[in-house]
């Protein structure tokens, strides 16, 4: 481990409350499901960061996705399940509703399933909605590779894939951001390795612990973070070393490198962040739905009053949102954080803590 930085001053809490941020939707859900917040000592809070793929997708990109269903070729839109309930700029306008109105929207469990679909239905254009982080990017890369190998002319990917690191850097650069430590995303770390998580401590000066997803593992990671904070340390610790290695999954990294190039991308709540999105490389542009169908990302059409952006940044707790549990419930979500089971609001709603 490199020398740890004396950073506790830098990231000192203004109000005495220690805030720890998780940046992985599966952590958000596991924390809520196991009621971990209610076990924390007073003065320690867990807040959710930009770790839910659906949640960080901005409304104008969801509008573009919905627009795919209006293409003249009437494509098959192949998507992960949680994408289909996310409304675009207009409340209630979702892929699920478009499907009820006749769009061909199919839920797949892996990008390769979408390639199989394209193979089977050669006379249809199949567009796979690539969402997620370094977790799903390698699989999407593999799908592009498989489609290229098979010479499929009817398969494209609409990439909304994002890289975790730039979003955390963007968050941390906001002067109002106040977090004292990070629970590093375990699944992303499996791909990037410890080396992909070092920026938390080495560049940004935060205590950081790579954590697994079982309740005991999360509690252990929190304990390690609190110890670092108490000792004024800021280092990266790997508490998920059974699956996270120093260098990560190099094959997955090579796949991403081969098929994707980093580009500026828009994040809900965070805006445009340079080099934060995985765009499809020029060599594979015939697999790029944005290029094949000439898709332009517009401006959001109307303001739904949604505060998901603030929730994603950790600036607002789900329960502090004026829409939470009122205008915005899982049955009729206004924002994506209430849609995905990994969203901070859905997790907070579905698994409300009871102090009984």
């Amino acid at each position: 481990m490199p020398e740890t930085r004396e950073s506790s001053k830098e990231h000192k809490s203004r109000d005495g409350i220690i805030r720890l941020m998780e940046v992985c939707g599966t952590h958000t859900m596991a924390i809520a499901r196991n009621g971990i917040k209610s076990l924390l000592p007073p003065g320690v809070k867990l807040i959710s960061g930009p770790g839910c793929p659906v949640c960080v997708t901005p409304p104008q990109v969801v509008d573009a996705v919905l627009g795919l269903s209006e293409l003249e070729c009437r494509p098959v839109i192949a998507t992960y399940g949680d994408m289909i309930r996310v409304p675009g700029s207009r409340p209630g306008d979702t892929l699920m509703k478009r499907r009820a109105l006749g769009a061909d929207v199919r839920i797949v469990y892996s990008p390769v399933d979408a390639v199989e679909l394209a193979e089977k239905e050669r006379d249809r254009q199949v567009i796979f909605l690539g969402a997620g982080f370094e977790t799903t990017a390698p699989g999407t890369a593999a799908a592009i590779g498989a489609a290229a190998d098979r010479g499929l002319k009817n398969f494209t990917v609409f990439s909304m894939l994002k890289k975790v690191e730039p979003s955390v850097r963007a968050l941390a650069s906001d002067p109002s951001f106040s977090v004292q430590g990070f629970l590093c995303p375990g699944h992303v770390a499996v791909v990037t390795g410890e080396k992909g998580m070092k920026f938390f401590s080495e560049d940004l000066g935060y205590p950081a612990v790579i954590s697994g997803f079982e309740p005991e593992e999360i509690l252990k990671a929190i304990t390690l973070l609190l110890k670092q904070i108490r000792n004024g340390e800021s280092k990266l610790e790997n508490a998920y070393s059974t699956v996270v290695s120093a260098d990560g999954n190099t094959i997955a990294q090579e796949m991403m490198e081969k098929y994707f190039a980093l580009r500026s991308d828009i994040w809900r709540g965070l805006g445009l962040i340079p080099d934060s999105g995985f765009g499809i490389r020029e060599e594979y542009s015939d697999m790029d739905a944005e290029k094949r169908f000439d898709i332009k990302i517009g401006e959001p059409k109307q303001d739904s009053g949604c505060h998901c952006g603030d929730v994603i940044k950790g600036a607002m707790e789900p329960s502090e949102c004026p829409l939470f549990g009122k205008a915005c419930v899982p049955e009729e979500p206004v924002g994506p954080c209430m849609v995905s089971p990994e969203g901070a609001c859905a997790a907070a709603w579905k698994y409300r803590d009871v102090s009984a």
Partner: protein
């Protein structure tokens, strides 16, 4: 209520309730509360026979659209008998007669229909019900998904089963009552999911025995409980769509005085179901069962109820999973293995596999 019916309205959760209460009921039956149109079966004050044979009549109906039609542990034919038989049995009735209607798509294999009919005959025999009327329609190719089946049924509640005026309903539940489930939960929903997606490579294809649907008629189990416990049996439910958590929510959602607390570690879930749900991001507490019952019984009859269930063919895995409590009125609370408590709400729409 949205302006088009999306698939979520058929999930059996909150959205289904909304469709029924907001759109359908106000237009057809303003006095539904008297007949219990919102329960699985309606108890009608029609008395059959005279003298010592007075019985109340219970009426129920259900439609079956399962995909795939054959899955490990069952098929659409078996399901169509069990579904209605179990709805009747949950009201304490002895199922007696069923109607059987087919909507068949042009081009459907006669051989397959024969297999389904045989399964229906076999299951009706096992459940001791007679199929006494029916209907058959054939629709144009492309206007139906192979075959749809509807069954309606009537059953009778013996007058000496319960004291006069007593029927099984959530209003009977009191603080201190015990909550019992007759076996492992989530088997059916997970088995069907695997059968639908053989590409998961987790078994689940035809002939696979890794995980079987729990699909079974429960009239023996239900009647044994009713006969053995009388008024100490408060309510029963077969947790089909929406699973255990949704059914338990429905027991207490209208109550100002009591709620239910269940212990996570006591809920019987097979390792197979737990692992599959983990991988797919599903919650087994919301996965459908087709051969399990939940019974709320008085606290002092807990052991007796368990031993009654364990003697029956589909009750060997019965377990007490929790209690009715005054601490959290109107709520279902799950006490986790860490000792924390979380509120579990009803399923809103269909469970969707998440991204990563």
């Amino acid at each position: 209520m949205e302006d088009v019916i999306t698939l979520d309205y058929g999930s059996g959760g909150g959205k289904t309730s909304k469709l029924i209460s907001d759109l359908i009921l106000p237009l057809i039956n303003k006095d539904h509360e008297k007949t219990g149109a919102l329960c699985d079966g309606a108890v009608l004050d029609i008395l059959k026979g005279t003298g010592d044979g007075n019985q109340r009549l219970v009426f129920s109906t259900d439609s079956f659209v399962v995909d795939p039609r054959f899955f490990p542990g069952g098929d659409i034919g078996k399901l169509s008998v069990c579904g209605t038989v179990n709805d009747l049995a949950m009201m304490g009735a002895e199922p007696a007669y069923l109607s059987l209607s087919f909507i068949i798509e042009e081009g459907f294999s006669a051989e397959e229909l024969k297999t389904i009919a045989m399964s229906i005959g076999r299951t009706a025999k096992e459940a001791g019900v007679r199929i006494v009327t029916g209907d058959t329609k054939v629709v144009d190719r492309g206007r139906g998904d192979g075959i749809y089946i509807n069954t309606s049924g009537i059953g009778f509640v013996d007058s000496d089963l319960f004291p006069e005026g007593y029927s099984l309903k959530p209003e009977n539940i009191c603080a201190g009552d015990s909550v019992i489930v007759s076996g492992t939960v989530g088997d059916h929903g997970t088995a069907v999911m695997l059968a639908r997606n053989p590409e998961f490579g987790m078994g689940g294809g035809e002939g696979s025995d890794m995980l079987l649907s729990d699909c079974a008629p429960l009239n023996r189990e239900a009647l044994a409980l009713a006969r053995g416990l009388g008024k100490d049996l408060r309510v029963m439910r077969d947790p089909t769509r929406g699973g255990l958590a949704t059914a338990l929510n429905e027991f207490v959602e209208d109550r100002q005085d009591v709620g239910i607390e269940i212990l996570e570690k006591e809920i019987p879930i097979s390792d197979t179901v737990r692992s599959i749900c983990d991988i797919l991001g599903l919650d087994p507490l919301y996965c459908a069962c087709e051969g399990r019952l939940i019974a709320v019984v008085s606290g002092e009859c807990e052991d007796r109820a368990l031993s009654i269930l364990k003697r029956e063919p589909h009750g060997s895995g019965a377990a007490v999973i929790g209690h009715v409590t005054e601490k959290t009125p109107g709520r279902l609370v799950i006490r986790t293995v860490l000792g924390t408590g979380r509120i579990a709400v009803k399923l809103s729409g269909a469970q969707l596999p998440r991204i990563c």
